[in-house]
Symmetry: C2
Subunit: 449 residues, 2 copies
């Protein structure tokens, strides 16, 4: 079972009295403490969400996001990863980075540097931009949803060429006698010329332990799923029930096969929120406090950011069928699946979103939560979980202090770290991408120097 702990360099859950993220996210000690907790729990990785821009669909303004502390203000995820990595040895890091807003040449350097500094403990959560106001802030032009994925596909080609095909493994020789630090005949230009990018190379960096970081992705749309099936080594899905998650797992494995990969080349992790008590009553009390800290405005702000739909145009008691938006249909379908007979209203969305995520809550005693995770593994066939926090600290401490020991006692979770790199931990195989991954099948341009 693979378990990653989600976090984000912004206030998150700040309305809950137990949460310290609103002050903590700007402080190194907050991140170092979280890193040590997750490493103590032998978690696979910390997954660091990131976003560029401030959500501004709800009420047509960025003000609700700022007022309610909805992923705003927000710091940089790569620097948080470097901070956490500096005080850990085994814990891995999934770092969010946006193909729509960055150049592939620079991106390749950033992730090679991270993989160097962590000795292979880095993954990349591949996202494409979707906050409108990045355009107003001079961060490039956003494309349509499908074209964004076409652009991202080409972006991947470029970084793969730089990571996998530019420097040979034995290029760096450090030969003082011949005065040769690296052999230029083993360093290759990539000569990429495509629709969106033109990059000559070579890569600025020598190969890191993993070369290509572990590739992570969350997109759930048909185009996003095809992208994930082709590129991703781990996919994150949000589903209300394990039965529904089983569909996501099946689709992900199909998408991998369609891209010429093995079905198991894509691990699927289910997003969940765990509310754990030493007793059921303690868990219920925690859950009650967590639910009290839900703000409808915060939820609608987030929802607007995701879908472009401004729910301020509706009454909280409106039935959701009255909301006409293509962007919302997938969410609505997923959302109502859990209770299709119910008359879902706008306010139900807000409560479901909890100001942060659509991931289902698993509430109970240690035993009950472990039972439920076991059921998810069995029914959904997922490879593990992406645990989303209600509060930091709090949620991940409960995971590590309460849930992990129970999973270990049941023989479901590791009792020591295996593998040094993120890819070894995830796949049990090599630190490098397998030969059947599309990155390996690319050819670089004719201009081998």
């Amino acid at each position: 079972m693979h378990i990653m702990a989600l976090t984000q360099p912004c206030p998150r859950g700040w309305l809950n009295e137990l949460d310290q993220s609103s002050r903590g996210y700007t402080q190194a000690e907050f991140w170092k403490s979280l890193a040590r907790t997750c490493e103590r729990g032998l978690l696979d990785a910390v997954f660091i969400a990131d976003i560029m821009g401030i959500y501004d669909s709800y009420k047509g303004s960025w003000q609700p996001a700022v007022q309610h502390g909805v992923q705003a203000p927000h710091d940089d995820a790569t620097l948080v990863a470097a901070t956490m990595a500096a005080v850990t040895d085994k814990l891995c890091f999934g770092v969010t980075w946006n193909t729509s807003l960055q150049s592939p040449y620079n991106t390749a350097r950033t992730f090679t540097s991270l993989d160097h500094l962590t000795n292979g403990r880095i993954g990349w959560n591949i996202v494409t931009g979707y906050v409108k106001n990045v355009e107003d802030n001079g961060m490039g032009q956003l494309l349509s949803h499908d074209e964004r994925y076409a652009q991202a596909d080409e972006f991947m080609d470029v970084v793969y060429k730089l990571w996998e095909h530019s420097w040979e493994d034995d290029a760096v020789v450090r030969d003082r006698v011949r005065r040769m630090h690296a052999d230029p005949s083993k360093v290759h230009e990539i000569h990429h010329k495509g629709k969106y990018y033109s990059v000559k190379g070579p890569h600025m960096c020598e190969p890191s332990r993993q070369r290509t970081p572990v590739l992570l992705q969350a997109g759930g749309s048909p185009r996003g799923l095809a992208f994930g099936g082709k590129h991703a080594e781990a996919l994150f899905t949000i589903n209300p029930t394990p039965e529904k998650a089983a569909e996501s797992v099946r689709k992900a494995r199909q998408a991998a096969v369609a891209a010429g990969r093995d079905p198991s080349d894509v691990k699927v992790l289910a997003g969940v929120c765990l509310i754990v008590g030493r007793t059921t009553a303690e868990a219920d009390e925690k859950y009650r406090a967590a639910r009290e800290a839900i703000s409808l405005d915060a939820a609608f702000t987030l929802f607007g950011g995701w879908t472009g739909v401004d729910l301020s145009a509706y009454d909280p008691d409106d039935l959701i069928e009255t909301i006409k938006s293509d962007g919302m249909q997938a969410v609505i379908k997923n959302f109502t699946y859990v209770d299709p007979g119910r008359a879902w209203r706008v306010r139900d969305f807000g409560e479901w979103l909890k100001g942060g995520t659509l991931a289902p809550d698993i509430v109970g005693s240690v035993k009950e939560v472990a039972d439920e995770l076991e059921r998810w593994m069995r029914v959904a066939g997922v490879d593990g979980f992406m645990v989303q926090p209600y509060t930091t600290p709090g949620s991940h401490e409960d995971l590590v202090n309460l849930v992990i020991p129970e999973l270990q006692a049941r023989g479901l979770f590791r009792t020591e770290y295996e593998g040094d790199t993120f890819r070894e931990r995830l796949t049990g195989a090599d630190p490098r991408l397998p030969q059947r991954h599309p990155a390996k099948r690319l050819a670089i341009g004719s201009g081998r120097t």
Copy 2:
């Protein structure tokens, strides 16, 4: 006296047997060790050089840079800074970041994040891009030298507006009762519309301890000096003698005054290489070994990167007067100043450059080196030194273990850290920019929310 230690995430001095940078620069432990050494020595800061692209003027190719390990391969400076910061409390960091290759909106977030995570220990070494091949790698179009500075000037306006004028100090209220994380009426759009940039804002990040990082700069051209006089809080100069450095100091102070600032608002640090022994003989032996590790090809590669001049078109014995290039004249003037009667040849450049820097060598016993630093302070009127390494580890350990105690014994260097932030350490005043700095005098657009 202010002392900063220069380093760079690449092989540097690798031909010297004592140097470990070629393997070390990719490893967190190498950086953590250097950070601890510099903090133990109470240095003001580590200054992390950076470059995007691979030097390619010499022989018209990037191959010499790769072969000789001349700032290639090269990792990312911001991530190295975060790594070093995570294991120190007081040491500060000057991080190189290029206005030609980045967007101001993203830049503002990167440095606010670094300043958050270090609690105010961050400076920004402002550079403009100059390696031709970044264009071939899709990193934008390079402008002419003077236009680059015009662009950089506007870039500074944008980041100043984001850092200094977007979020008021008391914008973040974290009021659970009113469900208000931040008061949007105290968060302002900046509405910047200029020749190069259009950025609406607001800043994505809440203010950090220093708001604007300490502004560092090294440009020596007339346009560069005007830029530095306007923006920089510390300027780095490379001069062969303290008498020549006195000119740089005078010009820097004049440039500050011309920009409406106090002469002492710009600290001037002289670049030096220290080769220190317990005895003069030990120092001489170290120096001999260091000189042996000099490669003419490496020096010419570096020189080509700086000036665009391909010295492979010349014989090493050619007189430098025969080289016609505007870009080289300033360097030649500076270079020959130390011994104007000598017939300087092309190979002399290479030896002077030592594969890494034009900074003068100060070679001797602890006492002799300390005497010479005292003379530089007195004759040049500099505020301190930027110490450049021959080897890592080695040079900075000698600085901390041998030179610093001698300077302390003479009452010339601090015996404990004063001030928590970089700006307090440098100026003795506030963590924030003084009111007379141009950043403070900017007005944001009319659209206060």
